[in-house]
C-alpha cells in the first residue's frame, strides 16, 4: 500500500518534470499562433536549444550561460521563420517543416563529439524551505529545479498577459483579424515578429531543460518528437496558457509512467506505452485540421495566413 502511494507520488512528480519542456514549448507556440503565425519548427528549435544549451554549458561550466545560449538560439531560429513567413510570405507549413528538418540535422552534426560527455553543471533540485517539507504537496510541487518553478510562474503570467492586458488584446487581435488591427494602428508585422521570436525563445528554453535538467547530457535526437507534441498540445489547450499546463503535465505523466511502470516489470510491451503520446498527437492534429472543427474550438481566425495591407481581403 505504502509502496503504491510512493509510486504514484513519484510518477506525479515525474509528470511535472517531464511536462516542463512541453509546457515551455507549448506556451511559446501559443504566443506565435495567437499572433496568427503557425510555426511547425518547434521540434527544430527545441533540439537546437537542447544542443546549444549543453554545448555552452560544457564550454563554460555554467548551466545558466547554456540556458541563455539556448534561448537565443531558439529565438534566432524563430526569427528565420518570421522572415520567411511574415516578410517573404512563404508558406508557413513549408517554412516550419524546413526548420525542423534543418534543426534536427544540424544538431546531429554539431553534437557528434558531445555524445557521452558528462554535464559539468545542471539545474538541480532546490527544495523550497517550509513548503518543501509538506506531506504529499512538498515532494510533488516544491522539490524541483528552478526552471520548474519558473514554468509555474510563466503559465499564469502568460494567461494574464493574454487576456487581461492591452498588449494581450493587441496580440489576439492580430491573430484574429490583422486587417482590423492594422486599421486601428496596431503594427501587425511588428507584433508577429515579436511573438514568433518569443515562441522560439521558449522552445529553446524547453529544449535546454531536457539537456540540462531532465536528462543531463547530449544524445542525438534527444527531444524525441516533443516539439510535435507541443504543437498538438496547443490545439488540445485551445490556445489557452492555463489549459496548456494541464495538457503538458498529462503528457509528462504518460512519459513518467513509462519509466516507472517499466521499472516494476509489467507485461505491457514498452513500445506500446512509448507510442501513446505520438498516437494522441496524430489524432489531435488530424481532427484539428478540419476547418469547421478549428473554428468551433476557437483557433485564431487568421492562423497561417500572411497579411499585406494593400492586398485584397
Amino acid at each position: 500500500m505504502q509502496d503504491t502511494l510512493i509510486l504514484i507520488l513519484l510518477i506525479l512528480a515525474g509528470a511535472i518534470r517531464a511536462g516542463t519542456p512541453l509546457l515551455f514549448a507549448t506556451l511559446g507556440e501559443i504566443f506565435a499562433e495567437r499572433a496568427g503565425v503557425l510555426n511547425l519548427g518547434v521540434e527544430g528549435m527545441m533540439i537546437m536549444g537542447a544542443l546549444s544549451g549543453f554545448m555552452v554549458t560544457v564550454r563554460t561550466g555554467n548551466a545558466w550561460t547554456g540556458l541563455l545560449a539556448a534561448i537565443l538560439v531558439g529565438g534566432s531560429i524563430g526569427l528565420i521563420h518570421a522572415v520567411l513567413s511574415i516578410t517573404l510570405r512563404a508558406n508557413q507549413v513549408v517554412s516550419g517543416l524546413a526548420l525542423t528538418i534543418f534543426g534536427t540535422g544540424l544538431s546531429s552534426f554539431l553534437g557528434q563529439k558531445l555524445v557521452g560527455v558528462p554535464a559539468p553543471d545542471t539545474f538541480r533540485v532546490v527544495r523550497i524551505p517550509v513548503l518543501g517539507e509538506l506531506p504529499v504537496l512538498g515532494p510533488l510541487v516544491f522539490q524541483h529545479d528552478i526552471l520548474v518553478y519558473l514554468s509555474f510562474l510563466l503559465a499564469p503570467l502568460a494567461w494574464f498577459l493574454m487576456f487581461k492586458t492591452r498588449p494581450g488584446l493587441h496580440l489576439r487581435a492580430v491573430g484574429e483579424s490583422p486587417a482590423t488591427a492594422d486599421a486601428m494602428g496596431v503594427s501587425v508585422v511588428g507584433l508577429r515578429y515579436l511573438y514568433v521570436f518569443l515562441g522560439g525563445m521558449l522552445a529553446g528554453l524547453g529544449g535546454a531543460y531536457i539537456s540540462l535538467a531532465l536528462t543531463p547530457g547530449w544524445a542525438d535526437g534527444m527531444t524525441a518528437g516533443r516539439g510535435w507534441i507541443a504543437i498538438a498540445l496547443v490545439i488540445f489547450a485551445t490556445w489557452s496558457p492555463a489549459r496548456a499546463m494541464v495538457g503538458a503535465y498529462l503528457f509528462g505523466g504518460v512519459e513518467a509512467a513509462q519509466f516507472r511502470i517499466q521499472g516494476t516489470g509489467t507485461q505491457v510491451p514498452s513500445f506500446f506505452l512509448n507510442m501513446t503520446p505520438y498516437i494522441f498527437t496524430i489524432i489531435v492534429l488530424v481532427i484539428a485540421t478540419q476547418e469547421t472543427v478549428r473554428r468551433r474550438i476557437g483557433a485564431p481566425a487568421a492562423l497561417g495566413l500572411p497579411y499585406e495591407r494593400e492586398e485584397r481581403g
Partner: protein
C-alpha cells in the same frame, strides 16, 4: 461652424493598382460641419481614395492637407492621431472580441491593464449622446450588422475623430436603420464634424448630403451643391450618359407553381439553424424577390434549392416532383439555373477559358460530348454563338475567364445559365458590383426569361431592384419569411419593418 480652411484637402492624388488606375489626379476637399457625399459607380475609386485618407493605402502621388496643414500619412496610426476615422465597407471588427475590446483596440490608453468598467462607461456616454445603442459587453459575432456598424462609429468617436468617413454604410441596413444613421450623422455634422459619406445610391445622396463629389473611372467629374443638382444630373455624371430608372414589364399572366418549398430547414456553415421552416412557391413567368439584410438565410436558401446544402427537414418540389436533397447535377438536369453570389468562386472557374466555362453544364452529353470525348467543333460553334448573343466582350473563346471585368463575367455566367432554357432560375445578387450598363443588361435578361415563362427566385439586397423586377417580394429575417407582398404598390416602409423582424399577417399570399 464652417471655417475658411477646408478640414480635408486632397490634391492630385494618384493611385495605381496592377492593371488599374484607381485614382487619377483626384482633387477633393471637405469642410467641417458638412456632410460630403462621394458618389460613383462600383470601381470608380471611392474606397481607394478614402483608404488613402485613412492611411491604409499609400498614394503614388499627391498631397494631403488636414485643417490646412500638409501631412504625411504613413499608416492608419498617423491618420487616427490627426482625427481621421473610417468605417470600412467590410467592417473592421474582431469578431470573437467584445464591443469594449474592439473600441479600445490600438489605443495607448489603458496603458497595461484592461479596465473594462471605465471603458464601458465612456462607451455608454457616447451611445447616449449620439443615439448609438449597443451593449459594450456583447461579443461582435452576437450583434446584428446594424449594431456592428454602430460599434464602428463609436470606435471613431471614442478616438475623438472629427473627420468621419463612412464607406457605403447603408448597404447593410434596413431603410429604418438607414434613417437613424442619417439622423446621427446630421447631429455629428451640426457639432462640427466633417462627414464623408461614400455611396452609389442617388436617393441617399439627395437625402443627406450638403455637397457631392462625383467620381467616374478614377477621376473627379465634378463637385456640386446638393441643393443645386438633381438625381438625373447626378446619374448622368456618374455613368457618363443618360440613364433611365424605369424598368417596364408586362403584368404576370398566371401559371403553374414551378418551385415549391415547404417548411424548409437547413444549417449554416457554422452549424447553426439558418433556415427555420421556410415555405413559398414561385410560378411560371413570375419573379419572386427575396429581400432581407445580408446573412439572414438568403445564401442558404439558394443553396438548399440547388442541392448544394442539405435540408435537415422540409421539402422542395420542382413542378410537383420532389427534388429535396437530390445532388446538384440531378437538380440542374431538370432545367434549373443557378446564378450564385460568388461569381468567380462558385459560378465560373477563373483559370479556364470562356468556352470551357460555357460547357460546364453540358459537356458530358450530346451535342457537346461524344462518349468520353468532347466534340470540339460543336463546342466552338456553341460558344461563339453564346458569346456574340450575350455580348460578352473578350478577346476570344479561348482566353481565360479571370481576365474579364465584372459585367462581362456576369454576362458569361448568364449565357451559360440561360442557354439551357431554364424552368427555374435562382439568381443571387445578380447585379452586385456591376456598373449601370451591365446592371441594365442583367435586368433585361432576367425579364426576358420571365417572358419566356421561367420561374425566377431573385435574391438581392437592393430593394429598388427587387421592387422593379419582382412580381412579389418575400422578406427573410433570421431564416424565416416575415411576409410576402405584391411588388406593385408595396410600401418600402412595410418591407423595412419586416427586414427588421416584424411579422406580417399575410392575407395577400398569391395562390396559384
Amino acid at each position: 461652424m464652417t471655417s475658411a480652411v477646408p478640414s480635408v484637402q486632397m490634391l492630385v492624388i494618384t493611385k495605381r493598382f496592377p492593371g488599374v488606375l484607381a485614382n487619377d489626379h483626384i482633387d477633393f476637399s471637405a469642410n467641417a460641419g458638412e456632410i460630403h457625399a462621394l458618389l460613383g459607380e462600383n470601381g470608380a475609386g471611392k474606397s481607394t481614395l478614402m483608404n488613402i485618407l485613412s492611411g491604409l493605402y499609400h498614394p503614388d502621388q499627391g498631397d494631403i492637407h488636414i485643417h490646412g496643414r500638409r501631412v504625411a500619412l504613413r499608416s492608419p496610426r498617423d491618420a487616427i492621431s490627426l482625427g481621421i476615422g473610417m468605417v470600412h465597407q467590410h467592417f473592421m471588427l474582431v469578431e470573437p472580441h467584445t464591443v469594449a475590446e474592439n473600441v479600445t483596440l490600438g489605443l495607448d490608453e489603458p496603458r497595461f491593464l484592461l479596465n473594462s468598467g471605465q471603458i464601458e462607461q465612456k462607451i455608454a456616454a457616447l451611445s447616449e449622446k449620439y443615439g448609438l445603442k449597443v451593449d459594450p459587453e456583447a461579443r461582435i459575432w452576437q450583434l446584428s450588422v446594424g449594431e456592428q456598424q454602430r460599434v464602428e462609429i463609436i470606435k471613431m468617436l471614442y478616438r475623438n475623430a472629427d473627420i468621419l468617413i463612412l464607406d457605403e454604410p447603408t448597404a447593410v441596413l434596413t431603410p429604418q436603420e438607414a434613417r437613424e444613421l442619417f439622423a446621427t450623422l446630421k447631429r455629428m455634422a451640426a457639432e462640427g464634424h466633417t462627414i464623408i459619406f461614400i455611396t452609389h445610391k442617388l436617393d441617399e445622396v439627395m437625402a443627406i448630403s450638403d455637397r457631392i463629389t462625383v467620381l467616374r473611372k478614377g477621376r473627379v467629374v465634378s463637385t456640386v451643391f446638393t441643393s443645386a443638382t438633381s438625381k438625373q444630373e447626378l446619374a448622368r455624371m456618374m455613368v457618363g450618359r443618360e440613364v433611365f430608372f424605369q424598368v417596364t414589364k408586362s403584368p404576370w399572366r398566371g401559371g403553374q407553381a414551378v418551385l415549391r418549398v415547404e417548411a424548409a430547414r437547413a444549417l449554416s456553415d457554422k452549424g447553426l439553424p439558418a433556415l427555420k421552416g421556410v415555405s413559398f412557391a414561385v410560378h411560371e413567368g413570375e419573379i419572386l424577390g427575396v429581400a432581407g439584410v445580408a446573412g439572414n438565410g438568403q445564401r442558404e436558401l439558394a443553396e438548399a434549392i440547388t442541392g448544394l446544402r442539405p435540408l435537415t427537414s422540409g421539402e422542395v418540389y420542382l413542378c410537383d416532383r420532389r427534388i429535396t436533397n437530390q445532388n446538384p447535377r440531378q437538380i440542374l438536369d431538370q432545367k434549373v439555373s443557378h446564378i450564385p453570389e460568388d461569381r468567380l468562386g462558385m459560378g465560373l472557374i477563373p483559370n479556364l477559358s470562356l468556352s470551357d466555362n460555357l460547357i460546364l453544364k453540358g459537356y458530358f452529353a450530346p451535342p457537346l460530348g461524344r462518349g468520353p470525348f468532347l466534340d470540339q467543333k460543336a463546342i466552338d460553334a456553341h460558344c461563339r454563338e453564346l458569346i456574340s448573343r450575350f455580348e460578352v466582350m473578350a478577346p476570344g473563346p479561348d482566353s481565360s475567364v479571370k481576365l474579364l471585368s465584372g459585367g462581362n463575367l456576369q454576362r458569361l455566367l448568364l449565357a451559360r445559365e440561360i442557354s439551357c432554357c431554364p424552368r427555374l432560375m435562382v439568381a443571387v445578387h445578380p447585379t452586385r458590383g456591376l456598373d449601370v450598363g451591365a446592371t441594365e443588361a442583367v435586368h433585361k435578361m432576367l425579364l426576358e426569361q420571365r417572358e419566356e415563362g421561367a420561374a425566377i427566385l431573385l435574391i438581392s439586397e437592393d430593394l429598388d431592384e427587387l421592387l422593379s423586377l419582382s412580381d412579389r417580394v418575400a422578406v427573410l429575417y433570421e431564416g424565416e419569411i416575415m411576409g410576402i407582398v405584391p411588388a406593385q404598390g408595396a410600401q418600402v416602409e412595410e418591407i423595412g419593418l419586416m427586414m427588421a423582424g416584424t411579422k406580417r399577417a399575410r392575407p395577400a399570399e398569391v395562390a396559384a
